[in-house]
Symmetry: C2
Subunit: 312 residues, 2 copies
Amino acid sequence: MNDWLPFRRLALLGFGLIGSSLARAARREGLAERIVCADRSVNVLDVARRLDLVDEAHADPAAAVAGADLVLVCTPVGAYAEVGQAIAPHLASGAILSDVGSVKQVAIRDLGPLVPEGVHFIPGHPVAGTEESGPEAGFADLFRDRWCILTPPPTAGEAAIARLAGFWQRIGSRVEVMDARHHDLVLAITSHLPHLIAYNIVGTADDLETVTKSEVIKYSAGGFRDFTRIAASDPTMWRDVFLNNREAVLEMLGRFTEDLAALQRAIRWGDGETLFNLFTRTRAIRRAIIDAGQEEAAPNFGRRPKGAVRKD
Amino acid sequence: MNDWLPFRRLALLGFGLIGSSLARAARREGLAERIVCADRSVNVLDVARRLDLVDEAHADPAAAVAGADLVLVCTPVGAYAEVGQAIAPHLASGAILSDVGSVKQVAIRDLGPLVPEGVHFIPGHPVAGTEESGPEAGFADLFRDRWCILTPPPTAGEAAIARLAGFWQRIGSRVEVMDARHHDLVLAITSHLPHLIAYNIVGTADDLETVTKSEVIKYSAGGFRDFTRIAASDPTMWRDVFLNNREAVLEMLGRFTEDLAALQRAIRWGDGETLFNLFTRTRAIRRAIIDAGQEEAAPNFGRRPKGAVRKD
């Protein structure tokens, strides 16, 4: 990794939370001589210019990728086919084309066939984010200590994979290479299903007629508010995730529903032992996540740490 | 509230996260001349003495309540009948007997019939907590800006209710009076069902054979880790909640499952509009919770706020 050289031109297509965080991180670490973005929203381009996050901000993705040696697609995955059509004729030979989408088989399906000879296509997914959206919500440290999963096709060159991995490592990420199909299964349980369930329970609460909306809001500190944070994530991004990882999400949802039916039965029949055993087992997983550096140990339900008032 | 006088002797029965936080808060605010606790765990009593959180620490709850003018039961709700039997003959006339349990009809069912004439019985529930347990995890600010719900029986005296409400207000809580049955319904959706679902998905993930435990842990930042925090809550307390609020939990679970089936169908049939509409609607509820002071606005998925490293 010591002979790693900056890219000449980094093109970020889609400039929301992830794209703008990448611009900030890449600039801070000096990973590209020139950083450019494209976005179909005029407002987003205005923000990119006003905050001076990029060297060029384009409405046309083709203009952004021209001459770029690293192109990262940062749009919702449902836009990949359209973006791919727009940029394919303009991709420079020798360039690396990657993305940050939460589903990887769709990147291979919608972008893969459009990639010209001589361009290195290596789909990627940084497992990082916040419940906020848009370029103003981004920050350079978003990827620090998080995992970035690369799912290169079998034909991808080792040198290009190593170069892209070096980029992610330099902005603080750990890199793992994985088969795209397996990625989609893993993320279905660690990310997609949690979001689906959170969206669902918030919707259920919103629809009740026996409990008022005001009561749901006032007494949300009992656990519900943590679900609303997840359910505040970007609607377009998440719609596209579920539409494009259908098979794996339905598989995990089926298992979840089965297990929930068993819990429901335990409650109905007063089977305290089944409940207690599950509730004890789940504690160990949290401990392992903290030990793996993927979570802070400090309790968060109290929100304000002991006695202090947070300023942020 | 200006003529509010401290209690002479506050007895906390059960000295875990909530009981010990009450001791800290009551002492800091000078709300009782003497604060005593009882717990059946020798270790817990040792901690209470070592940290100097109380004036007396008893193994026998009867010894703690003797002469107390405020008694707060802070055990899991499944222990109420036993605690009630032990203390009933020793309760002082004119004392207020309350509790902090997450289910209120069970307090009325298991404690109510044992309360001697002349004792004011007013069940209560502070909607506050963390994912940690035990007296070392407590802190005085736990109840600040949180709601405490009182569910007095129709016969309860106004003066006793006002006096108990004053206690909670002085440790920073807002107080609401509610019917016990309605309380149990409201908390079933804002607290009990979220916990059940979190426990369930963590169990589902733990059981998978196609995704390894190490993968679940590594890629948990995509949403799953937030569920593990909720699923790290105290197993005994939560077993007792589900066994004692069965009807309301099953009602809310039925609605949740119905709604989830509709979402499942939308995913299977590629109905992006249904998904997008739900995902947009849920954002508004989070905004309302933040506006109501029950949640911080700062994004938490990034965990470390922009560029900073938390010291706690």
